[in-house]
């Protein structure tokens, strides 16, 4: 009989949903010693919406349970692990061997997916270098050191068609060749893990679930360009990712994959982690270098490009987490294999973080060229509560808005910019008919405005002026010329800012104005919010079914607009109400709603 393995998904999302309690319970049960079983932890499997997830693996067959609590964990242990019988009601995913049949209630989440970057996430223990090696890890590095010259590695990456996954999509092989061509006593390999876009968690999941794949990609890059020191610049908000990286780096040093004379090749290379300190602009490469150097993270003019003068003024190659994680796969399976996936000019896959009003929020890796509709409906399972799909915000605050009528465009580096948005790093926030597009534009601009480093006048002051206009609009105080002012300012900020932050900050405003002009006009001309979201422009009501008459809302109301007898449902007089929203947050029964 094959020994069963139990894996508990313990990325940040799993842990927040209570995976630790589940793991502790399973550990107690395993300690009873009634069965030969191996319990281990793994990274994010992607189905964040069904966390905590527990997998029971027997040989090649995998069965994953969702929404597991301590009680269900015990049931799974007693019925499935000891008794060989599935707890079928809770199975979310079932796979009989690598090419076997797929089943379970959430199997459709996986059908369109192609896992290259996430190949090991959720299947291996991220803190075990042995498991990474058994999954084929560090084979690509051996190949790069023993069988390939620097040029051959770069040519292979070029031939794969891999492009930077941080958002801009610059061809990775070409970037490497620039850094390789510049002679210097020291060169650096930098990994940008400063994933700052609100709504994006792709890189975090890779770092937490498969840190060695990123290290291996970086070491291969170092070999290709001739670098001797690497840095991973990681957000301080990702403590678990930093811890797992530290564990991985220590293990890689011990095994001789890092340090002096790597695998006897005569090549020296080591990696240090630098923790970010909370500044969105540090995702921009020149600002990131300034921050590693210990200064205020402000960008500078390019050229000179990092390949010539980067970190500490030395030739530097900078890619993001997802880009490096692709590299070992390309070297092992070959550039041709990689180039078969995706579209003509955008090869491979892209990892997306699905969030917002989508039914299945989580991490999904799909071939380039998959349409937005497929991502939202086939992978994401459609909109929560059966509401109408309105738009997606792609690429976070620097991306843009793509409306439902354009949802059939493929996701790749050529098609997305045609809509006015950018590919960005992979955040995909889904919005339904209750999301106000003016308000969402205000939200994103509020973010970039606060994160502007202040170096360029247009970014520092221009975004503030735009934000002021949007704030007025959401309060119903718009003026007829506001839209014209917003587009003029937006274009000027895009043209006059030094770095990507300012150059893309107006995108959410410009794209929502382009596709949802009516909604802007309703705010300006009719003081009306069609989505029923802007507080100042809606009516407040109390649901008599939920209200218990506790009087808290009436007490919290600053203008005495709420009336009713204790223990009887209350009512709101909207002619008196000043729409401060205090009653909503005071209610213990979620009985107050807007319309």
């Amino acid at each position: 009989m094959v020994m069963k393995r139990i894996l508990v998904g313990m990325g940040t999302c799993g842990l927040s949903a209570g995976a630790q309690k589940v793991y502790d319970r399973l550990e107690e049960l395993a300690d009873e010693g009634t069965a030969e079983v191996e319990l281990s932890r793994t990274g994010c499997i992607g189905m964040c919406y069904r966390e905590p997830l527990v997998e029971v693996r027997e040989g090649e067959s995998r069965i994953i349970y969702g929404d597991v609590d301590a009680e269900l964990a015990e049931q799974i242990y007693r019925t499935h692990v000891l008794g060989d019988e599935e707890v079928s009601d809770s199975v979310v995913y079932r796979q009989e061997g690598p090419d076997g049949e797929i089943g379970g209630s959430e199997s459709s989440y996986h059908i369109l997916q192609k896992r290259i970057v996430l190949r090991n996430c959720g299947t291996i223990d991220p803190e075990s270098i042995k498991e990474y090696e058994s999954a084929g890890g560090y084979q690509a590095l051996r190949k790069a050191l023993e069988d390939m010259t620097s040029e051959e590695i770069i040519d292979e990456v070029k031939a794969s068609g891999l492009r930077g996954r941080g958002g801009a999509g610059f061809p990775t092989g070409l970037k490497w060749s620039f850094a390789a061509a510049n002679e210097a006593d020291t060169k650096y390999v930098v990994c940008n893990a400063d994933e700052g876009d609100p709504g994006a968690f792709m890189d975090r999941s890779v770092l937490e679930g498969d840190p060695h794949s990123v290290l291996e990609g970086m070491i291969i890059c170092a070999r290709a360009i001739g670098a001797d020191q690497g840095y991973i610049y990681c957000r301080a908000e990702y403590p678990l990712a930093i811890r797992r990286l530290n564990v991985a780096i220590a293990a890689a040093r011990e095994k001789g994959y890092l340090g002096e004379d790597i695998l006897g090749s005569g090549i020296d290379f080591d990696i240090r982690i630098k923790q970010g300190a909370g500044a969105f602009v540090c995702g921009e490469e020149t600002a990131l270098f300034a921050s590693i150097e210990g200064r205020r993270g402000m960008p500078r003019l390019r050229p000179p490009f990092p390949a010539e003068k980067g970190l500490w003024g030395k030739p530097t190659n900078n890619n993001n987490v997802e880009t490096y994680a692709n590299v070992p796969w390309i070297l092992t399976r070959g550039a041709d294999e990689y180039a078969k996936i995706g579209t003509e000019k955008s090869k491979g896959t892209k990892v997306f973080a699905l969030a917002g009003k989508v039914r299945r929020g989580g991490l999904a890796e799909v071939p380039m060229g998959t349409t937005i509709r497929e991502l939202v409906f086939d992978v994401g399972g459609g909109i929560k509560q059966g509401r109408d799909f309105k738009a997606v915000q792609i690429g976070g605050p620097s991306g843009g808005c793509i409306p439902e009528e354009l949802a059939d465009i493929p996701v790749d580096f050529e098609s997305i910019p045609e809509t006015g948005a950018i590919m960005g790093s992979g955040g995909l926030v889904v919005m339904d008919d209750t999301t106000c597009m003016v308000e969402i534009a205000r939200f994103f601009l509020d973010f970039t405005q606060k994160e502007s480093c202040g170096k360029c006048t247009f970014c520092r002051i221009g975004t503030l002026r735009m934000l002021e206009i949007l704030e007025r609009l959401t309060k119903g105080e718009g003026e007829p010329e506001d839209m014209e002012k917003l587009s003029r300012l937006g274009e000027q900020i895009k043209q006059s800012s030094l770095c990507g932050l300012g150059q893309t900050a107006p995108n959410p405003v410009l794209t929502t104005m382009r596709y949802f002009e009516d909604e802007y006009r309703a705010h300006i001309e009719e003081d009306r919010c069609p989505a029923g979201s802007c507080l100042a422009l809606v009516d407040f009501h109390i649901d008599p079914e939920k209200c218990v008459g506790c009087t808290l809302c009436a007490k919290s109301c600053p203008v005495e607009a709420i009336s009713g007898e204790p223990k009887e449902p209350h009512e709101i007089d909207n002619s008196v109400c000043v729409r401060c929203g205090k009653c909503i947050s005071s209610c213990n029964f979620d009985a107050i709603y807007k319309s």
Binding site: C13, C48, A200, C587
Partner: protein, 162 residues
């Protein structure tokens, strides 16, 4: 209490003593100072400046650039209310309102009893659990104004007992 403060100070001094003159160590030094004191006190800025040779004004400039660094002590429980995109579209602002009302402080402030500091953060990365609030290292997801009030009350009770 007194010995604990002394220990932390010794730890921090040790790190400074270990400073190897490498450029780029300023941010890690500030991070370790904040780990030990809970914030960056005035005297830590002077220490760091004297050891590294970086002018105090520049150290201060770096501190104020990054949102992680704090120049004032924090409460025993730090509530980080997520204002990321997914949380925002799921009603994060009414969650923040409820906490502000429950504690009687605005975002960025500390309660008078020193128990809570309330801050609003860009994204905690648990988007599928939106709206989310973190209290120290513990995450609470799928909140409503009513349920977040319960969370705060529960922690306040826990905090009072200790």
């Amino acid at each position: 209490m007194a010995t604990e403060t002394t220990n932390r100070q010794e730890d921090f001094t040790y790190r400074l003593w270990r400073y190897d003159g490498q450029p780029g160590e300023l941010i890690p030094l500030l991070q370790s100072a904040q780990d030990h004191f809970g914030y960056i006190p005035r005297r830590a800025i002077s220490y760091i400046a004297s050891v590294t040779g970086i002018p105090e004004s520049e150290v201060y400039g770096v501190i104020t650039f990054y949102s992680q660094f704090r120049l004032r002590p924090m409460g025993k429980y730090v509530i980080r209310a997520c204002a990321g995109t997914a949380c925002h579209v799921s009603g994060a602002s009414s969650i923040l309102d409820a906490i502000q009302d429950e504690l009687g402080v605005e975002s960025g402030e500390t309660t008078e009893d020193g128990l809570f500091t309330l801050t609003s953060v860009a994204c905690l990365g648990c988007c599928s659990l939106a709206p989310v609030v973190m209290v120290n290292d513990e995450t609470f997801g799928r909140l409503t104004p009513a349920s977040v009030r319960k969370v705060v009350k529960e922690i306040a009770r826990r905090g009072d007992k200790q």
